[in-house]
């Protein structure tokens, strides 16, 4: 006879229900698992058997056949251990089917009967609560990430025994109370740590407020990495939905760790020049999110952008343009969210001294010209701000540091509120404005218009650059709380035009 049991799997970021049928009949002892990848069979059999035995539960002596449906979905099968163990228990101890029907069971068993935490627990719990009417039992180690979703339908088990107690006797196992790990505000990196480079700090406010992708140009050691990694300190705090999404991604990538709670600060993902396409997009037989998705709702910092292979930079087009990553597989398409703010960093030229002291720059004019052009192309289309940073003289570093994150954040929040009113929806920012929106929201008076036209001619802006400057000007106006885009905002935007390609 067959006992049916339910578990949960996750493909890409989409959880799905796994229907398990466990059949026990007389015959030579054997354990067959259908619907799962090869090596799982042998491993599962052993884990489940030993775990049950170590818990002093009896193990049947017959032929066990397990079918896991849907068969064509790749399953990360280890998390099904718990469900199988419970099904076998049900056979041996006559647990009625209707008890098994109530639960979705997730967890990998170790030999001593402990249940190990799994990936994507947060997504699975959410799916289960919304799409099914079942209760879910997950490893106690995942209690942290599901803290905010606690519900009478969510149960935890640290060991097989606890799980069985819960299912059979209804005894709740209380995991150790997890505190959500909010980052202490005082510890967070602050823009007060950066001395000088005031223009760059203003640019960071613009980037944070209007979600403009940015290119930081400066010699090594002038503070580009510092500027990028402090962006979360001036961006609006994450909303519940954003926290949920980001935690789900980190959970799916297995980067949450034991007992960790929700991610409440925007992630900063640093990508170095020896990154690969796969590292950025993610992938694998069971697709796992890559760096671009880990930066969802946060910052993707690409250092030494000129050294990155073109095909990698190209992969970033989709996240920058649409905020997603699509992976194509044989039967299915996987979509990962990747709504990130991209900050690229580069030296201004080969020797790095062009901005600090052009007299000392040892590059030939040909080298200067071609160095930053390595970035040109589809990626630069989407970079709104080109910010120059310079090495500060020693006196600067002993004096006042300039704006702090607190001051900057206030202005950014104001600008964000204005944008929310303007667009009427949450999550839409100036950087995403279409040309017709630019024309309606960034109307210039005649004088300012003449000024801008003059600049367009003098610097030879392309049409793309024309709209780009206006978007930045709009954010500058929002930061000042001004309704119209004025002369100063246009001039400010122009100071962030590119030093390479067409501006």
């Amino acid at each position: 006879m067959i006992k049916r049991v339910y578990s949960c799997g996750c493909y890409g970021m989409r959880p799905f229900l796994i229907h398990g049928e466990v059949d026990l009949r007389n015959g030579l002892p054997d354990f067959d698992v259908l619907g799962c990848a090869g090596s799982y069979e042998k491993e599962a059999a052993e884990r489940v058997r030993i775990a049950l035995k170590n818990g002093n539960y009896s193990f049947p002596k017959g032929h066990i056949t397990v079918n896991l449906a849907p068969a064509d979905m790749p399953k990360s099968c280890a998390a099904i251990d718990l469900a199988l163990a419970v099904a076998i228990y049900a056979h041996m101890y006559n647990l009625p089917q209707k008890v098994l029907e109530r639960f979705v069971l997730v967890g990998e068993l170790s030999l001593d009967g402990r249940i190990k935490s799994c990936r994507s627990a947060i997504s699975m719990v959410d799916y289960c609560l919304r799409e099914t009417d079942k209760e879910i039992l997950i490893p106690a180690g995942n209690a942290g990430e599901t803290e905010l979703m606690r519900n009478r339908r969510v149960h935890y088990g640290a060991t097989l025994s606890e799980a069985l107690h819960c299912i059979v006797d209804g005894v709740e196992a209380e995991p150790a109370a997890q505190k959500i790990r909010w980052t202490e505000e005082e510890d967070a990196p602050d823009y007060g740590d950066i001395y000088g480079n005031a223009e760059a700090k203003t640019a960071m406010m613009v980037a944070a407020a209007g979600r403009h992708h940015t290119l930081l140009i400066g010699s090594p050691g002038c503070g580009k990495t510092m500027a990028a990694e402090r962006l979360p300190s001036i961006m609006p705090p994450m909303s519940r939905q954003e926290m949920f999404e980001t935690t789900g991604i980190y959970s799916a990538a297995g980067k949450l760790g034991e007992d960790k709670g929700w991610i409440s600060t925007r992630p900063v993902v640093k990508v170095s020049s020896n990154t690969t396409k796969a590292a950025l997009t993610g992938g694998g037989r069971i697709p796992v999110p890559g760096a671009a998705s880990l930066a969802h709702n946060g910052i993707l910092f690409v250092d030494e952008a000129t050294m990155i292979p073109g095909e990698c930079l190209d992969t970033l087009r989709e996240p920058l343009e649409q905020g997603t990553i699509h992976l194509l597989r044989q039967n299915t398409r996987v979509v990962f969210p990747a709504n990130l703010l991209c900050v690229l960093a580069a030296n201004p030229c080969k020797c790095g001294k062009l901005l600090d002291d052009p007299g000392k720059c040892t590059c030939t004019s040909g080298e200067r010209r071609t160095y930053l052009n390595r970035l040109s192309g589809p990626l630069l289309d989407r970079i709104d701000l080109h910010v120059k940073m310079t090495t500060q003289p020693p006196e600067k570093m002993r004096g006042q540091s300039g704006m702090t994150s607190q001051e900057m954040r206030q202005r950014v929040m104001m600008a964000c509120r204005i944008q929310q009113e303007r667009f009427g929806v949450e999550g839409r920012y100036n950087a995403q404005m279409t040309p017709s929106e630019v024309n309606s929201y960034c109307a210039l008076d005649r004088e300012t218009c003449a000024l801008y036209d003059r600049a367009v001619e003098k610097y030879g802006f392309s049409n793309r650059a024309y709209f780009r400057m206006l978007r930045v000007a709009r954010t500058l106006a929002d930061l000042d709380g001004d309704e119209t885009v004025g002369r100063n905002h246009i001039l400010g935007a122009l100071s962030y035009r590119g030093i390479c390609s067409d501006g």
Binding site: P358, T390, K458, L491, S495, I499
Partner: protein, 365 residues
């Protein structure tokens, strides 16, 4: 006429031959027509031609190059001036082995006062400022500048002369259809618009060689009444131009510079070796005998733009030493954002120039 040009280009297209070699061929055979008609036998006996040259001549490669060159001339309407034509600059006749042909674009040289200005490619801010001022003043006062179209000082001279309504002559080291260096190609239109001229002794289509640079310098020397060297390092190519000037008995002025800076070591040495000292534009004009100013031209700027008080303060502060937004905002105790906006405004109207990204320089004097 076409025939004559064809013959001259033919000789110029012979590989690995320089002005001395051309002069020798001319003296031996009398005319370019005769050179083209040389038999393989005669060519073989010329010891001063390289193997490659002889091969190219006998196998018809030179004819091919010449045909292609003529095609470019026709297609792009390149101007040609042969030695002996009425518009061939007489001042060039003083140099050793003057070019038999000049290929040009724009308005050909006339009888005018010209000053040759050269300098290093990697100039310092000081050099940039001096070049900018000199170009501007020459432009405003109707004095034609001659320079080498190179990066650095040459490019700045050409640019500031044109932008101030003046005429400038760019002597290219390579051919006229693909002017070298590439990054100065955006100067071509301004130069031509301001009634200037691009010229070279290299026929269209001929690739550029290392030796061409020094050879071009003798043209710069030949075309200017006087030479000014703005900034030069120890081993600068500018020294060759000075030598050429000395050969034809014309004066050189060198701009003195910082003895600690590497960029002025050459110019300081020139002064030590007898070049005149350039201390200011006015003194230079008086001393060199270039004399009274021909015409005043109000120039490109000053279009009645309204400068705010802030703009004026900035202008007063920015001088010939380039500075950044940060430096200005510190000195004037102003918010950097406001300074940046003002600088951008001033740059748009030419009151201030962004010489390299982030560094701004004003007008001196």
């Amino acid at each position: 006429m076409d025939r004559k040009i064809y013959d001259v280009i033919y000789t110029l297209m012979i590989p690995e031959i320089g002005p001395a070699g051309i002069g020798k061929l001319l003296r031996m055979f009398g005319s370019f027509e005769n050179i083209r008609a040389l038999t393989a036998d005669q060519i073989g006996r010329l010891k001063f031609l390289s193997h490659k040259a002889k091969e190219a001549m006998t196998e018809g490669a030179v004819t091919e190059y010449t045909d292609k060159s003529m095609e470019i001339i026709r297609r792009e309407n390149v101007g040609i001036c042969l030695m002996g034509d009425s518009d061939y600059p007489q001042s060039l006749m003083d140099i050793q082995n003057p070019p038999p042909a000049l290929f040009y674009r724009g308005k050909m040289l006339a009888k005018e006062r010209r000053v040759s200005v050269i300098g290093t490619r990697a100039c310092s801010h000081y050099g940039m400022a001096v070049a900018e001022e000199l170009g501007r003043k020459c432009g405003t006062h109707g004095l034609t500048t001659v320079s080498g179209f190179a990066s650095g000082v040459d490019g700045l001279i050409h640019r500031s002369t044109c932008e101030n309504g003046g005429r400038t002559v760019a002597v290219l080291a390579g051919n006229i259809d693909k002017p070298y260096p590439v990054e100065n190609r955006n100067l071509i239109n301004p130069i031509l618009k301001a009634e200037g001229c691009l010229l070279t002794e290299v026929p269209p289509g001929k690739p550029i060689f290392r030796s061409d640079f020094i050879l071009r310098n003798r043209l710069i020397a030949g075309l200017g009444t006087v030479l000014v060297v703005v900034e030069a390092g120890t081993k600068s190519g500018c020294f060759s131009t000075v030598d050429y000037m000395n050969d034809i008995g014309r004066d050189t002025y060198a701009v003195p510079g910082n003895i600690t800076g590497s960029k002025s070591i050459g110019t300081n040495k020139m002064i030590q070796q007898g070049a005149h000292v350039y201390t200011s534009y006015e003194d230079f004009m008086l001393d060199s005998g270039l004399g009274v100013f021909a015409r005043r031209h109000s120039g490109y700027t000053a279009q009645g733009i309204e400068l705010s008080n802030l703009d004026k303060r900035l202008l007063a502060e920015i001088k010939s030493t380039p500075c950044t937004v940060e430096q200005l905002s510190d000195t004037l105790s102003l918010d950097p954002g406001t300074v940046a906006q003002s600088l951008t405004f001033l740059t748009l109207f030419g009151e201030v120039t962004e010489v390299t990204p982030g560094w701004f320089v004003g007008k001196t004097g």
